[in-house]
């Protein structure tokens, strides 16, 4: 493993990333650099590979990396298991959080929290201590404490699932949060609350990648960079104004497809 100065301002360096699901190549040479303190938005049409990128970062076993490297916090994480990446500080907020009947949410949250605490050499919390702690965090997201007693995500509405994701992020305090379509399925109030939570967790030491189809989320979370993905690559990078232009002109506007862009 290559270890560079972990306080370097570069947190994530993705170089020429290629990845397949089964035999289909989805990511075809993706490059991205994320520094501490930054918020990046990755936009693109369905099928452009943006959710795949989020899952590959987190180490999803269904995706196979065929080329390139992912340097996170100075370490090449490409050979690490999902839990090792999580413990190193990568957090993926799922587009479709998984329902786990039979596992109480508070039990799950405490297990995850204590794993992270143990990793950092910090004190683990017993159930009573954790209960106080998690209730404070839930206030931030205006979550009903009743969600602690229920099975993980089971029967939660779309908005409740997404809030539960951000709650986990608030507990685990990752260095890099990758939020996969966190805005999908949220009404405007839930979107505002979730965005508020994400904004409060962002600081100068960590970084956030927002994967989103729509500009809407970016009204609430202002990115430093907006990237557009197409066919498994980032084809355009610009400041936050790019999102608005995409909203006005559509993805064809930025696409390399001349036939469509000049089809007047």
């Amino acid at each position: 493993m290559i270890r560079t100065d972990s306080s370097s301002s570069v947190l994530l360096e993705v170089r020429d990333l290629h990845a397949c699901v089964e035999d289909t190549e989805i990511l075809k040479g993706l490059n991205l650099t994320v520094k501490r303190g930054e918020i990046h938005a990755i936009m693109g049409l369905n099928g452009s590979g943006k959710s795949t990128f989020a899952k590959v970062l987190a180490g999803h076993p269904s995706y196979r990396m065929t080329a390139g490297e992912i340097i996170f916090n100075g370490v090449d994480i490409t050979s690490l298991a999902p839990e090792e990446r999580a413990r190193a500080g990568v957090f993926l907020a799922f587009q479709y959080p998984v329902e786990i009947p039979g596992v109480a949410n508070d039990q799950f949250l405490r297990l995850a929290y204590n794993t992270a605490q143990g990793q950092r050499g910090k004190e683990e919390l017993d159930p009573l201590e954790f209960d106080d702690f998690v209730r404070e965090k839930m206030k931030l997201l205006e979550m009903n404490p009743g969600f602690l007693d229920r099975s993980v995500n089971e029967g939660f509405s779309g908005g409740e699932k997404k809030r539960n994701e951000i709650l986990q992020m608030a507990l685990l305090e990752p260095l890099l949060a990758v939020l996969d379509e966190t805005d999908s399925g949220l009404d405007i109030d839930a979107l505002r609350i979730v965005a508020k939570g994400i904004n409060q967790l962002a600081n100068q030491d960590n970084a956030t990648i927002l994967v989103t189809h729509y500009q809407r989320l970016l009204d609430y979370i202002v990115p430093d960079y907006v990237h557009v993905m197409e066919a498994g690559r980032i084809i355009k990078t610009s400041g936050k104004e790019l999102a608005l232009e995409l909203e006005t002109h559509g993805y064809d506007w930025v696409s390399g497809n001349k036939a469509r862009t000049s089809g007047v």
Binding site: A58, G59, H60, P61, S62, A81, P82, E83, R85, A86, R87, F91, L92, F94, P97, V98, I100, P101, G102, V103, F108, L111, A112, T115, A116, Q119, S151, Q168, L172
Partner: protein, 437 residues
């Protein structure tokens, strides 16, 4: 098909019977003696089932037949204090069997008014109507070799008789302890709940030996009108043991029988549960969890028999099989012509944790009435890969993630148990079995 054949194992059993230890006169006035004699006559006409019999298609008991186990020695050096760690905290009444033999000295039967706990022979001596009406009449021995053997060779059994409208608030703990190698125990228990009575029974099999032995148990439960029986069955025999058990339940008018059966132990186990909903508005809910690994084979055969109108039955059975283990579930529901407005639901879910583990599941609905609500379903699956990744992405390693999901699958059944100490012990066992950290 069931032609009597020379069967060395059976011959050996019969030799014991005839050797005089438990000899009874066919003309004895004692109900128990007459029952034994009649059952012994049946043994002579029956034979052991094989995989050619439909009801035993998935369960090959050849190793059990070869075992030819002996009758257990009657003396025991177990003490109450030695066993105390196994007693359910909440229970007051305890009935302890050692190697199939009722052990009054280890039991605690001094109880409230309206509750009788005594040996079956003592109850039979006094002509207890509960014994003469129900013992041997709920579990039919005439066409079932194992029930016939148990009935013929039952060592001293126990009867629990609850009078009308009596609520036994603390659970009754019936503990079957195995201590001897190479023996066959035939424990027998009868529970009779009077009209409007209410009781919780914990029936538990445990081993103080790692050796091979056989348990052939029969439990009969009679619920009079509006009685309420909650029955928790825990089978964690030695991993070398053979366990065959029959629970036969008779539910009368507006009575409610609820059971939760947990199978963890034995090399080969077979559990038959027959619930007869004999009168209108009778209800039952019978749930089960089988959690096996290694080379274990666990077979659960249930039969819910709706005989009269407006009965309700619910059933959720789950199997978890790891390594090369083999789980069998056969769930028969019969709705007779008269049993209109029956409401029966059955679900079986199985989880296979390895490529070599297997499950055979066979729901059987036999419906002869035309105005009924009946449903059944069966699923067999593996651990959800997305759920595993989700847990891993939160920092749990693969083993912990897997174990948590296995536990969660079984917890749905365990959560039905309302007795805290039993629930806690089960959770501990399962967490140990699934090696969660």
């Amino acid at each position: 098909m069931n032609t009597p054949v020379k069967d060395d194992y059976l011959q050996e059993w019969l030799a014991f019977w005839k050797s005089g230890k438990v000899t009874a006169s066919a003309h004895s006035a004692n109900y128990l003696d007459r029952l034994r004699t009649s059952a012994a006559d049946c043994v002579a006409t029956l034979k052991f089932p094989s995989i050619r019999d439909e009801e035993w298609r998935f369960t090959d008991i050849t190793p059990l037949k070869r075992a030819a186990f002996k009758r257990p020695a009657t003396e025991t050096d177990l003490t109450t204090s030695g066993l105390a760690q196994y007693f359910a905290d909440e229970s007051i009444i305890r009935v302890v069997f050692v190697d199939g033999q009722y052990a009054p000295e280890l039991s605690n039967v001094s109880t409230q008014d309206g509750v009788i706990v005594d040996s079956l022979s003592a109850l039979a001596e006094t002509g207890s109507p509960a014994v003469t009406q129900y013992l041997g009449r709920l579990a039919d021995y005439r066409d079932n070799i194992f029930v016939a053997l148990n009935t013929a060779f039952m060592q001293e059994g126990a009867g629990i008789i609850i009078s009308e409208n009596i609520t036994v608030s603390a659970p009754v703990h019936v503990l079957f302890v195995a201590t001897q190698e190479g023996v066959t125990a035939c424990p027998r228990c009868l529970l009779v709940a009077g009209a409007g009575a209410s009781v919780t029974l914990i029936e538990e099999y445990l081993a103080l030996t790692d050796c091979a032995y056989t348990t052939n148990a029969v439990i009969e439960v009679q619920l009079a009108d509006s009685a309420n029986v909650s029955h928790i069955r825990l089978q964690h025999e030695s991993r070398e043991a053979f366990h065959v058990a029959n629970t036969s339940v008779h539910v009368t008018h507006a009575a409610c029988y609820r059971s939760i059966s947990i199978v963890l132990g034995a090399q080969i186990s077979r559990f038959d549960q027959h619930v007869l909903l004999a009168d209108p508005h009778a209800q039952c809910g019978i749930d089960g969890l089988t959690l096996i690994s290694g080379q274990q084979l666990a077979d659960t055969h249930t039969w819910i028999d709706h005989a009269e109108p407006q009965g309700t039955s619910r059933q959720l059975h789950k199997c978890i099989a790891d390594d090369s283990a083999h789980a069998v579930f056969s769930g028969k529901i019969t709705v007779h012509t008269d049993a209109q407005q029956t409401d029966a639901r059955q679900m079986n879910r199985s989880l296979l944790l390895s490529g070599k583990a297997s499950v055979d599941t066979k729901p059987q609905l036999e419906i002869f009435a035309d105005d009924v609500k009946c449903s059944h379903g069966a699923t067999v699956g593996q651990l959800d890969q997305d759920a595993l990744f989700y847990l891993q992405s939160r920092g749990l390693n693969l083993t912990s993630a897997r174990n948590l999901l296995v536990y969660a699958f079984g917890a749905e059944i365990i959560d039905f148990i309302t007795i805290a100490s039993v629930k806690r012990r089960l959770a501990d066992w399962i967490l140990t079995k699934t090696r969660i950290e």
